[in-house]
C-alpha cells in the first residue's frame, strides 16, 4: 500500500521533472536561435560596412564573385524558386510592403540574374507578392540595371535585362515588360513567376474540374457520332482519351506553355530556397516540387550572395538519380 503510493508520488515527480526539462530544452534552444540570429545579423552588417571600403569585398565585388563562380559550375539551375516568409508582429498594418521588404527581395531576385538563372518563381502564402508585383517590378528593374553596370566589364550582356512577369492577376490591365519605357526588350529577359497558396492545391482542383468538363464534352461527342468503325479507332487511343498524369501536368503548367518551350526551361523549379527559419514548404505548389531541391537560407534582411552561391554549389555537386 505504502510502496504503491510512493510509486505514484515518484511518478508524479518524474512527470514534473520531465516537463521542466522540456521547457528548459526549448527555452535554451530558442534563446540560442534568437541570440545567434541577432549576432549573425549584426556581425554581417558590421562586416559589410567595413568591407565596403575595399572594392573587392564591396557589394559589387560580391556580385562579380557570384557571376564568376557560377560560370565555373558544371550545372546551373534554370529555374529557382524563392519562398518568402512574411515578418511577424506587424500584422495590424495591412500593407504588403510592411510585411515583406520588396527592396531586399528585389535584390535577391537580381542575384538570380547575376548567377545566370533565367527563371525565378516567387511564393508567399498570402499572395502579397502577387498582389503588389508592380512595385516589386520597379525595384527589381532598378537592381538589375545597377547590377548590369556593375558587371559590364564581364561582358554579361549588351543591354540591361528586362523582366517579364507571369501568372499575375489579369484584371490590372497588365502589359508585359515592367519598367520598359524606353528600354527595348532584351534577348534574354528575366522571367519572374509569382505564386501564392491559391496556385497550389486549389489549382489542382481547378485543373481537375476542367478535365472533367473536357471529358464530359468528349463523351457527349462520342455518343452523338455512333459510327462503330470510328469507335474502334477511339478505343485504340483510349489511354490518351482518359485523364492521365501528363494531361493534368499540361493544364497545371498553363502559365509556362506560352514561353517556357522557347526559353527551354522546366516548370518545376530546380531549387526551392525558403528564406526564413521554418522547416516547411508552407503550401508551395505541391505538384511541381517532386524533384526540387529544398534549401533554407536566413531571412531576407541578412541573406547574402555567398549564401546563394553555397546553395548553387551544392546543387551543381549533387547527382540526381531519378529513382534509379
Amino acid at each position: 500500500m505504502v510502496t504503491a503510493s510512493v510509486k505514484a508520488y515518484a511518478n508524479e515527480v518524474l512527470i514534473i521533472v520531465c516537463h521542466l526539462l522540456w521547457v528548459l530544452l526549448h527555452l535554451v534552444y530558442r534563446m540560442q536561435l534568437d541570440v545567434g540570429e541577432k549576432i549573425q545579423g549584426t556581425w554581417r552588417h558590421v562586416v559589410r560596412r567595413l568591407s565596403s571600403c575595399f572594392p573587392l569585398y564591396s557589394y559589387y565585388g560580391e556580385l562579380a564573385q557570384l557571376t564568376q563562380a557560377t560560370a565555373k559550375l558544371s550545372k546551373v539551375p534554370s529555374h529557382i524558386a524563392f519562398s518568402v516568409i512574411e515578418n511577424l508582429g506587424q500584422c495590424d498594418e495591412k500593407k504588403d510592403q510592411d510585411l515583406i521588404d520588396f527592396q531586399l527581395l528585389a535584390r535577391v531576385i537580381s542575384w538570380a540574374w547575376v548567377a545566370r538563372i533565367p527563371v525565378v518563381s516567387l511564393y508567399d502564402y498570402n499572395g502579397r507578392i502577387k498582389r503588389s508585383y508592380r512595385e516589386l517590378g520597379c525595384y527589381v528593374q532598378e537592381e538589375l540595371i545597377q547590377n548590369f553596370w556593375a558587371l559590364k566589364k564581364f561582358g554579361r550582356a549588351n543591354e540591361p535585362p528586362c523582366i517579364k512577369f507571369h501568372n499575375i492577376p489579369k484584371s490590372n490591365g497588365y502589359s508585359n515588360g515592367v519598367g520598359s519605357n524606353g528600354v527595348k526588350l532584351s534577348a534574354s529577359p528575366l522571367h519572374i513567376v509569382v505564386f501564392c497558396h491559391e496556385d497550389g492545391k486549389p489549382d489542382i482542383i481547378r485543373a481537375a474540374k476542367r478535365l472533367y468538363l473536357e471529358q464530359l464534352q468528349l463523351s457527349q461527342a462520342d455518343s452523338t457520332s455512333g459510327d462503330p468503325v470510328q469507335d474502334d479507332d477511339l478505343n485504340e487511343e483510349l489511354p490518351s482519351k482518359s485523364i492521365n498524369e501528363s494531361k493534368l501536368d499540361l493544364i497545371l503548367n498553363k502559365n509556362y506553355s506560352a514561353w517556357s518551350s522557347s526559353a527551354g526551361v522546366s516548370s518545376e523549379p530546380d531549387i526551392l530556397v525558403i528564406l526564413g527559419n521554418i522547416r516547411s514548404t508552407l503550401g508551395f505548389l505541391p505538384w511541381h516540387i517532386r524533384l526540387t531541391e529544398i534549401h533554407w537560407l536566413p531571412k531576407l534582411d541578412i541573406v547574402e550572395t555567398r549564401d546563394l552561391l553555397a546553395v548553387l554549389q551544392k546543387y551543381s555537386g549533387c547527382q540526381q538519380r531519378f529513382g534509379t
Partner: protein
C-alpha cells in the same frame, strides 16, 4: 585534474549505458518488435513527450545502397538492413505515441533500376509480406493496421494476392496504422484520385461543386488517414522525390544526413524536437485554411462517395486475396 578524470569516467559510464543495448545484435527479423530502449533513451523520450507529438509521420528511407557500398556488401543486403531498421523505427514511433506511419518502400521510378535489383527487391518484399502474414496474431494483439498504398496495376501479379490478404486481415485494427508506399508516386496518387472522382461524377454520385481538396484527399485512401505532421528523409538529400507531395505541403520537413540503416532512436528524437520547434513557428504564422464552410448536405454526399469508393476497392481486394486461399 581529479574532477576532470571523474567527469570522463562518468561520461564513459553514461555512454556505455546509452549504447550497451543497441550494440547487441538482434536476430529477430519480426515486424513487431519488443521494447528495447535504455533508461536514458526512455527519459529523453519522456521529456520530448511533454510537447506536441506528431500523430502521423512519413519516412523516406533513403541510403540503403550507399550503406551497402560503404560496408562492402551486396546492394540487396543494404535493403535487408533497411527493413530491419524500419521495424525498429516502427517500435520507437509507437512508443512515442505516433499512431500512423507512412513509409516510402518502392517508387514507380524505382522500376527503372537494374533488373536484378528490382527482382531482388520484389523477392524481399514477398518474403516480408509472407512474414507479416505469419505474424498476424501479434499484429492483431498490437492492433496494427497495415495498408499498402500505390498503383497496384504496376505491382507484379504474384505479389498482389499477398498484399491484399495483409490488408484485409488487419483492416479492423485501429490502434496504430502503417501505410506502406509500394509502387507509389504522389503524382500518380493524385491522378488516380482525380480519376476515381471522375467515375463518381459520371455515375452521378457527386456533382461538380463537390469536387474539393478534402474530397480529393479522401479518395486517396480506402481507410481514413490522419493529416501528415512530419516528413523525415534520411541520407542528406533534400528532395521529396514524389512522396506525399499533396499531404506534406504544410507539414514540417526534416532532412537528416544519416543513411537509413544507420538511423537511431536519437535521430528520431532530433526529428521530434525539430517538429516541436517548427510546429510552434507554423502556428504563429496563422495560415488561413482555405477550407470554406462546408454545407452538411454536401458533406454527407462526399463522405458517402468516399465510403462507396473504399468499399469497391475492398471488394476488389477480396477477389485478389481469394486467389491465395
Amino acid at each position: 585534474m581529479v574532477y576532470y578524470c571523474l567527469w570522463i569516467l562518468l561520461l564513459r559510464f553514461y555512454l556505455q549505458l546509452c549504447y550497451f543495448k543497441t550494440d547487441q545484435i538482434q536476430e529477430t527479423m519480426a515486424w513487431v518488435r519488443e521494447d528495447d530502449r535504455t533508461w536514458i533513451q526512455k527519459l529523453c523520450m519522456n521529456v520530448l513527450k511533454q510537447g506536441p507529438i506528431p500523430k502521423h509521420i512519413g519516412f523516406i528511407m533513403d541510403g540503403n545502397r550507399r550503406y551497402a557500398q560503404k560496408s562492402a556488401v551486396a546492394n540487396i543486403q543494404g535493403h535487408v538492413k533497411g527493413f530491419e531498421k524500419l521495424t525498429e523505427t516502427l517500435r520507437w514511433c509507437w512508443d512515442f505515441g505516433v499512431t500512423e506511419l507512412t513509409v516510402y518502400v518502392f517508387s514507380i521510378e524505382n522500376f527503372k533500376r537494374p533488373k536484378e535489383e528490382v527482382d531482388g527487391l520484389m523477392k524481399l518484399a514477398k518474403e516480408k509480406f509472407e512474414k507479416l502474414l505469419e505474424e498476424n496474431e501479434r499484429l492483431q494483439e498490437q492492433g496494427v493496421c497495415v495498408q499498402i498504398i500505390g498503383d497496384w496495376s504496376l505491382v507484379p501479379p504474384g505479389l498482389r494476392p499477398l498484399m491484399a490478404k495483409v490488408m484485409i486481415l488487419t483492416r479492423h485494427n485501429s490502434k496504430a496504422k502503417l501505410n506502406v508506399a509500394f509502387a507509389y508516386t504522389s503524382r500518380n496518387e493524385i491522378t488516380r484520385g482525380i480519376r476515381s472522382i471522375e467515375k463518381g461524377l459520371f455515375d452521378g454520385d457527386i456533382s461538380l461543386e463537390d469536387v474539393s481538396e478534402d474530397l480529393l484527399e479522401g479518395s486517396f485512401r480506402i481507410l481514413p488517414s490522419q493529416p501528415l505532421d512530419l516528413l523525415v528523409r534520411t541520407s542528406g538529400e533534400t528532395r521529396l522525390s514524389d512522396f506525399l507531395l499533396w499531404q506534406s505541403s504544410e507539414t514540417v520537413l526534416c532532412f537528416t544526413k544519416v543513411l537509413w540503416p544507420e538511423f537511431t532512436i536519437w535521430h528520431l528524437m532530433a526529428a521530434m524536437f525539430n517538429y516541436q520547434v517548427n510546429y510552434m513557428s507554423i502556428k504563429q504564422l496563422k495560415l488561413v485554411s482555405s477550407l470554406s464552410d462546408i454545407d452538411s448536405k454536401e458533406d454527407v454526399r462526399k463522405n458517402s462517395f468516399i465510403a462507396d469508393h473504399a468499399d469497391k476497392i475492398w471488394l476488389q481486394l477480396e477477389k485478389e486475396a481469394a486467389v491465395l486461399s
